[in-house]
Structure formats: structure tokens, C-alpha cells
Symmetry: C2
Subunit: 337 residues, 2 copies
């Protein structure tokens, strides 16, 4: 009968899975934010949008050894808030659906409750509801709601040649911190605290995202939860432009750590994932104004040619379209390259 | 040291788990809909509410043998829409977070996509976004968003003595259908189609919920996803009243099935769960007007004494506060009593 072989999800990877699902969906007419951007939105009144995001944390892929339940639950909230931050929208309400393994006890549940509350309250939001089910893994699926101004919202798709590419902070700490946790590497206490701390207590750049949206100078924005390289590729793809990166923002601590263990700091900084800095493109004539208001690192510029170019000294290379991807990468695989 | 034994979640049950989490949360000031009602809400403009709901479907507890992936994904959407229906709010947007086992293939993913879309489109909503992760169980966590009118929203808490208790349809089909599936019982085709069909393709009473909200006659409302008994207890608890049920709305097909296998039809009708009819209380002077607009079965009345009384002929008994509860009941346990 010549049956063809169906690909497993492990072969497909997260992005292909999402494509298959999108192919099954009826499109909402006059959709305000295209599929695949960081958030979804619905018109609610003149000029205002209801902004929604949902992202699921699953213990076996998103909770590294060494992260406790409070930290895991807090992270489940923060990863969603980071997506709203990237669009310049303040979170108001969080809903949390929990899948809980049978062997959890009441103390575990309390730690999860405290973590959810902490994640929301740090960003002035509240947990308003949720539900619990039994599951084999710990699963925390949060939905976050906020209200955005239509004219202020920052999409991935507006970057223009000549715009300045910038980020809200340096990269590589999460990759380095995960390596320390997963490979049980020994590093000086101060360095460990910085790098591992970044993994256990990620921070969404909400203040920066809100301030950036107010400037009206940002042409494209994204968070970097799948890694800097992937985020830059997304801006490139959604905006139909290329990016030339001339100042790779590797954290000093990452360079120090890489030197100790002979890792490639560029690999750690570009392809790690699970970092929550924002990557933005800014109108050049407003750069001065913007950079006075928000602390940004200028890393390159938007170019016409649809390519991602990395310039380091005299060397030019291309930035690959890879990063964190569920199914294809696991915590262990991804961070022990 | 006298360490005390911590209770496992299996001992605690879903409702105690939710209580523990609620105890950890800061309360939003001027919260519009109390914790524990079917949905959560945020003020968005004069008289309007953003209404949000999230509920997670996990294969091992919510997907019985015989339900395919399309049906499971559709159900994951419908169970959330049912909660909005109970409040009289139309769904606009659905977000879906998926946890997918590694052995799923692209055809499986497509079936899930088709099911998600079907569940939303049946109720004029659209799937706007979501994400996928790897998980041991199939997990589909949907978040549904709608806009409600503050003065029209139907809470669980407004029932007054003298109000009429009514439901949008008869009960017990899901319990019976699940028994047929799980215990592989043989029944005539027509009966099987009715009872099993109800399990595989649940229907949210959205039209009824929207029409009921418009009458302004409903004092309390809830869906019956945890079973009729539990839903009535919730109205009783939230409103601080009792209910006297004199006309238990058992479906004819359920009576027929119960007779065949010597099951108790009252047990099937009251304590089953996973049914999506609405239970409401209605101002008596507006009953005629309401029942002309919406097809309702009158089942009893609200009483002052905080008790749930079942009157069947000359026999009076009390309705127990039990029904479907995650962790405490599994599909197999729950439906083979």
C-alpha cells in the first residue's frame, strides 16, 4: 500500500508543530497581531487591545536540577510576563493551570502557590484564578492578560534598514548557569551566584518594555526566550530585513566562565535560550532620546540584505537560525554542546 | 523531632489543593468575581469586563479510551467555553498550550489542531495563539477570553429563598456513556450513540447562557462540569442558602441504561461530573418570561435552611457534596461505583 512514514514530534521540532497547528486554524478576520508574534490581541475599545499570552512550563524540559518549586512556579509566570514586556504591555491578571504529580504533598503545593504569587506581584499583576489536574510531570500553564494601546504596541515586524539594533542587557548568563547546574561545574561563589541566579530567578524586562513603547521610537521588539540568535532571526523574518551585529553583548561573567572551562563565549551568548532580555530596533534619529530613557546596549544595525551577519574585529560570519527548541533540544543536550 | 506527615495530593484532592494555593495569593483589590467562581474578570471600561478562564485537559484523567485526539482537543476548548456560558459571556479568543508526548506524529498534531479550531469555531471564537512543550502526558491547557457586561454577569452567589432552581437539560448521560466506554458494556446502537456521543462531543450551553443573562432574571448560575450535586452545593455555599430538589432531571436514556445493568439512575444523574448543562436559580416572578425564552427544566426551589434536600415521591434524602474531583477520583474509579 506504500504507506509513508509519519514524522514524530521529536523529528518535527516545536516550530514545525506550531506550523501544522496554524495550518488547521481559521484566521480571525482583521487579526491585530499576526500569529507567531510574542502575544495575541483582541480589540476592546477605541485604540485599546486586550493582550493575551499563554506559555506552559513542564518540569522535565523547563525545570533544571537545582531549581525548587517556588522558583519553577515563579518562572512559569515570568516567562509569560516577558512576552508582554516585549510588546510594551503591563500585565494585569494571571491565571494558572496546574498539572500535579500524585506524589506531591501539601508543602509542595504551598511552594507553588507562593511562587505564582511572587511572579505576578513583582510586576504588579495578580493571580486571579486557575485549576489543577493530575499529571505525570509538573505542568504549570499560565495565561497572562494586559491592556495595550494599539498605537504603542511593539511588533516584531517593523524594522527598517538603517535602524539601530539594541538589547536591554548582556547575554550568555543562562547558558553558563545551566552548564554549571547540569554538569555540576565548580566556579567561584560570586560567579556562580550571578550565573546560576539568572537561571533560577529570571527577570522580565517589563519597566524597559513599557518605557520603550512610550518613546514611539521602537520599530520591532522581541524577548529572547529562545536565545539571541533566534530572536534576531525572528525580527529579520517578520520585518523582511537583515541585521548586522558588530557588538555581541556577552556578559563579563560569561567570558570569565568560558575562559575557565574553555567554552566558546559566542556560542553561550548567541544560542543559549531562556534569557529574557529584549531585543529591539530603534529609529536612528530617536536613538539618543531613547537611550537616555532606557539603558540599552547598541549591538548593530538593520540592513537591507536578508542575512544575519556577525562582525567581530575583521572576521565576518553568519548567525545561524538556531536556539532553544522544544522536542529538538533538551535541557541536557542543549546546554552541553 | 516529631515531624508530622505531610498529606499527598491524592489525599488532599483537587479542592483542598486549590484552597492551599488561594491561601498563598495576594487578593486583587476590588476583585470583581470572587475566587472559585467559574471565571475571573478584570474591569476594562465603564460597565465592561474582560472575562478569563483557563482549564487544563490531561490525557490520563480527562480523555477516556475511545476518545480520539480531535475530540480531546475540541473538548479542551469546550470545557472552558462552558464556564463562560455559565456566566452569560460569549468567548472571543482561545489560546492553547500543548504538552505533547515524544511519540506523537504529525498526523496526531494535525488532529489536535483541527479539534482546537472546531471547538472554538462552533462558538464563534477563534484560536489566536498558543505554544507547545514536550510532556509525558498529552496536556491541552486552554485559556478563553470574552467581554462581559458587568450588570449582566451571572455569579454563583445571588440565589435567594423562593427562587426557582432549573437546569438547561437532563443529566446522567456522561456517567452512563463513560461506563459504557470504560467497562465495555454492550447496549443497543441508538442508546450507545446518545450516551457515548455525549462523552466524546460535549456541548457548552452558550446560547442558553447568553439568553439567560439577557433576561436579568437569573440570580445564580454555574456549569455542571463537576456533576449536578456538586454544582448545586456550590450555589448553596456561594449564596448562603439551601436547595430543595423535587424533580431530578434524569435523561430517559439514562433510566433505560440503568435498568439494563441495574445501576442507580440517581447516582448516575447526581454524582457523575463532566456534564455541561447549566444550573441556575431564577426570580419566581420572572419564571414565565424566562422559560418562554430559554428551554429550562424546573427542578426545585431555593430554601432558607442551608441544606440540599432531595424529594422523590414521599421519600426525602440529602444530596451529598461529592462529584468529580481530580486526584481523588480517576475516570475508572469515578464511574464504576
Amino acid at each position: 500500500m506504500g504507506e509513508f512514514q509519519l514524522n514524530s514530534v521529536a523529528e518535527l521540532g516545536e516550530r514545525k508543530i506550531i506550523d501544522i497547528i496554524l495550518g488547521c486554524l481559521d484566521l480571525m478576520p482583521n487579526i491585530l497581531i499576526p500569529f507567531g508574534d510574542d502575544v495575541s490581541a483582541v480589540n476592546i475599545e477605541k485604540g485599546k487591545l486586550a493582550v493575551l499570552k499563554t506559555d506552559m512550563l513542564v518540569s522535565k524540559t523547563d525545570v533544571p536540577l537545582g531549581m525548587n518549586l517556588l522558583q519553577a512556579a515563579r518562572k512559569a509566570v515570568v516567562i509569560n510576563i516577558s512576552d508582554l514586556a516585549a510588546k510594551g504591555v503591563a500585565p494585569i491578571a494571571v491565571l494558572a493551570s496546574l498539572g500535579v504529580p500524585r506524589n506531591f504533598n501539601e508543602k509542595d503545593i504551598e511552594q507553588i502557590g507562593i511562587g505564582l504569587n511572587a511572579g505576578a506581584r513583582e510586576y504588579d499583576a495578580y493571580v486571579l484564578g486557575g485549576d489543577t489536574s493530575e499529571a505525570s510531570d509538573l505542568v504549570i500553564s499560565c495565561a497572562v492578560f494586559g491592556i495595550g494601546e494599539k498605537k504603542r504596541i511593539m511588533l516584531r515586524s517593523g524594522a527598517k534598514p538603517g535602524d539601530i539594533v539594541a538589547v536591554t542587557g548582556s547575554f550568555g548568563k543562562t547558558s553558563a548557569g545551566l552548564k554549571i547546574l547540569l554538569e555540576n561545574l565548580s566556579v567561584p561563589t560570586k560567579l556562580r551566584r550571578c550565573l546560576v541566579g539568572n537561571v533560577l530567578m529570571p527577570h522580565a524586562r517589563l519597566d524597559e518594555g513599557l518605557a520603550l513603547a512610550q518613546t514611539g521610537a521602537v520599530t520591532a521588539a522581541i524577548d529572547s526566550s529562545d536565545g539571541l540568535a533566534w530572536s534576531l532571526h525572528e525580527i529579520s523574518r517578520a520585518s523582511g530585513v537583515g541585521l548586522e551585529i558588530s557588538n555581541l553583548p556577552i556578559a563579563d561573567e560569561v567570558s570569565e566562565f568560558a575562559k575557565m572551562y574553555k567554552f566558546d563565549p559566542v556560542e553561550l551568548g548567541l544560542y543559549g535560550g531562556e534569557e529574557y532580555e529584549l531585543a529591539v530596533t530603534v529609529k536612528p534619529r530617536l536613538w539618543k532620546k531613547v537611550s537616555e530613557k532606557v539603558s540599552l546596549i547598541r549591538i548593530g544595525q538593520v540592513i537591507e540584505e536578508k542575512a544575519l551577519v556577525l562582525k567581530m574585529g575583521k572576521k565576518t560570519s553568519s548567525i545561524e537560525a538556531r536556539g532553544w527548541e522544544h522536542f529538538k533540544t533538551s535541557l541536557a543536550e542543549s546546554y552541553s554542546r
